[in-house]
């Protein structure tokens, strides 16, 4: 593994479109055979980064290295990276076989070898019998596989995937995820996959790189970004959408949360988090919360307990989802049983599922502080 470290390396990549900075200070090292997902909402620069890797866009600063060779100025056709386009970009005037075989034809492979490789790709991707069809006569799933076959036929060292699953319908998408991942592992290809689908990234990738406004917000294994989000943005993006402002003090290896208007005092281990004494933003997922009738004695261990009132309850499947009012804000919390609207409840969030972030500028700009202010005014 160590030898393959830094197979693909991005150093200080920046990109601007007109006066807008699309990418900023991107540093990323990808190992050989690694599956990396670039995750972010639309406009975060993930597609720009992929196109930059493929050579369709030039960086305004920084370097793209592959095997320690500087690729920054190489034209797209000399990069040896195969891109699967979101639109698939299959050539409508060529048959399936011609589409898949085109890369080899460019490399001057003999006809027999091309035919052999094309049928191998067809067998690999389940496209047997379709070689004479034009792309317009294929289903969405088949097109996607032809696009993949065309990319894989040239035996690329690096496979770039630009939301290749987003045009498939939901049920096919789930199976294709696993197929694609299994294929990538089997062939040992290094893959960079752009997606805005958190679950897709979690299921497929070895490592997730979360982009926010052109910068890397966090890079880590799915488990790391899910359980130890580095910033409020990452936490929110990974589904921890409940936000409660708290305040507390750093006390040795623990962060002691002061009793507030909606919460009891509590304490969580610091675990090397860069928290400082003062106000913090607490985030947690609905499924991480535990609901109990108010006044019930919970054996909470570490963590925090909020006091609230159930506003609404619904059953999305598997558990009951409650909208709970905590003071002047609302959160979501799941429970195995339904609480009736109007019930006073205690919401407990265990320490390991409670994400705390020091509020950057105390009250500056964040939505929650505004909610607080308006709440106070109306109250």
């Amino acid at each position: 593994m160590a030898m393959d470290e830094g197979f693909v390396e991005l150093r200080g990549i920046a990109s601007r479109y007109g006066s807008t900075q699309v990418l900023n200070d991107i540093n990323l090292s990808i190992a050989k055979g690694e599956f990396v997902a670039l995750l972010g909402s639309s406009g975060c620069g993930k597609t720009t980064l992929l196109r930059l890797l493929a050579g369709f866009q030039t960086a305004s600063a920084g370097e793209v290295m592959v095997r320690r060779r500087n690729m920054t100025a190489e034209p797209p056709h000399k990069r040896g990276m195969a891109l699967v386009f979101q639109s698939y970009a299959l050539w409508p005037h060529m048959t399936v076989a011609q589409n898949i075989g085109y890369g080899l034809k460019l490399r001057g492979a003999p006809r027999s070898k091309i035919a052999e490789r094309v049928s191998a790709m067809q067998a690999l991707l389940g496209l047997q019998g379709l070689e004479a069809r034009k792309p317009s006569a294929l289903s969405g799933g088949q097109r996607q596989r032809v696009a993949l076959g065309r990319a894989l036929a040239i035996d690329p060292e690096i496979l770039l995937l630009d939301e290749p699953l987003s045009n498939l319908d939901a049920r096919i998408r789930l199976t294709v995820r696993h197929e694609l991942r299994a294929l990538q592992k089997r062939l040992g290809i290094t893959a960079v996959h752009v997606t805005h689908d958190r679950e897709e990234a979690m299921v497929m990738a070895d490592r997730i790189v979360i982009l926010d406004a052109g910068r890397i917000a966090q890079a880590g294994t799915p488990e790391e970004v899910y359980n130890r989000p580095a910033s409020a943005f990452v936490a929110a993006f990974m589904g921890a959408e409940n936000v409660v402002p708290l305040s507390g003090t750093v006390d040795g290896e623990a962060f002691v949360i002061a009793e507030g208007p909606v919460n009891a005092a509590g304490s969580v281990a610091l675990m090397a988090r860069p928290l400082s004494t003062g106000s913090v933003e607490a985030r947690f997922r609905p499924e991480a919360a535990r609901l109990a009738p108010a006044g019930d004695v919970m054996a909470p261990g570490t963590g925090i307990t909020f006091r609230g009132e159930v506003l609404a309850v619904s059953y999305p499947g598997g558990h009951w989802r409650h909208v709970v009012r905590l003071g002047d804000r609302e959160i979501m919390a799941d429970a195995d049983r339904a609480f009736a609207p109007g019930d006073a409840v205690a919401v407990h969030v265990p320490a390991e599922a409670l994400f705390l972030f020091s509020s950057p500028h105390q009250a500056a700009g964040s939505t929650n502080s505004r909610a607080m202010t308006s709440g106070k005014v109306s109250a």
Partner: protein, 278 residues
């Protein structure tokens, strides 16, 4: 109740053919009436007022037109040679121009597109008299290349505009996909973009061909009397009161138009047409 409705519908549909028939009949008359008259003239040996049909039919005028001294064969050959050369030169210019206008971020793009319209924006006569004067000085007057150049300047607006539209209609990602898989820029262009733009380019070629075929003013000033073209023959015959020869020439000019209609209908896709001039 049901029976009533279906009966009413039936009555309506049995009567519907009457207004439809009248409309289509009138339409057919206005389109095919003059054409029929034209065809009739080509085979009329004797036809004068007040007779509504020719008094005598025959092919003697066809023989006259296609006789070696009738000049029709020479004019037809000249017209076809000039038209084909015009198409070739126009496309050679329009393909790179259209591609550049469709794909590259050019400053003053719409101004450049508009510039190709300029030869059409001024009275033809003024333009071609001046061209004839210049061509005369450099020895291009009365030569096939001279006439071709005039026709190219005239046809380029169609060629460039339609080529631009044809290239715009090709998704740039298709070309990028070829580049990504290992094709150098030229290779990607010839393997992907050009074949996909071909129907549009074909249509522009046909436009230019037809424009060249019945272009009169330029051919007259630059070509005649050394290079005689079909429209010139038509003009001479028509102004001499020889309706038979004029009709036969007109019919000859009509054939490519009809073929053109059928080809365009087959090749030109709506998405290309919608991008013309953008």
């Amino acid at each position: 109740m049901m029976r009533n409705i279906s009966f009413g519908g039936g009555a309506w549909s049995t009567l519907w053919w009457i207004p439809r028939g009248i409309i289509f009949g009138l339409l057919a008359f206005f389109i095919f009436g003059p054409l029929f008259n034209l065809v009739l003239w080509t085979v009329a040996e004797k036809w004068y007022f007040p007779h509504s049909l020719p008094l005598q039919y025959g092919f003697s005028y066809w023989e006259k037109v296609f006789a070696p001294r009738g000049g029709a064969i020479e004019s037809l050959t000249n017209s076809l040679i000039v038209a084909v050369l015009t198409v070739v030169v126009s496309l050679l210019l329009a393909i790179p121009t259209g591609y550049a206008l469709a794909r590259l971020k050019l400053p003053f793009r719409s101004l450049i597109l508009l510039a190709f319209l300029i030869p059409q924006a001024f009275p033809n006569l003024t333009v071609y008299v001046n061209i004839a004067r210049i061509f005369y000085e450099i020895g291009l007057n009365g030569t096939v290349p001279g006439v071709v150049l005039v026709h190219v300047s005239h046809g380029l607006v169609y060629a460039v505009w339609i080529a631009t539209a044809a290239f715009s209609a090709v998704d740039p990602e298709l070309e990028q996909a070829a580049r990504n898989i290992g094709a150098a820029p030229m290779r990607a262009f010839f393997d992907v973009t050009l074949p996909l733009a071909a129907p549009g380019l074909m249509a522009s070629a046909i436009f230019v061909f037809l424009e060249s075929l019945d272009e009169f003013t330029g051919s007259y000033f630059v070509g005649a009397p050394d290079v005689n073209m079909l429209p010139l023959l038509l003009y001479t015959a028509g102004s001499g009161g020889n309706y038979q020869i004029a009709s036969i020439t007109a019919l000859l000019l009509l054939v490519p138009s009809l073929i053109f209609m059928m080809v365009v209908e087959r090749f030109l896709k709506a998405d290309v047409l919608s991008k013309v001039g953008h």
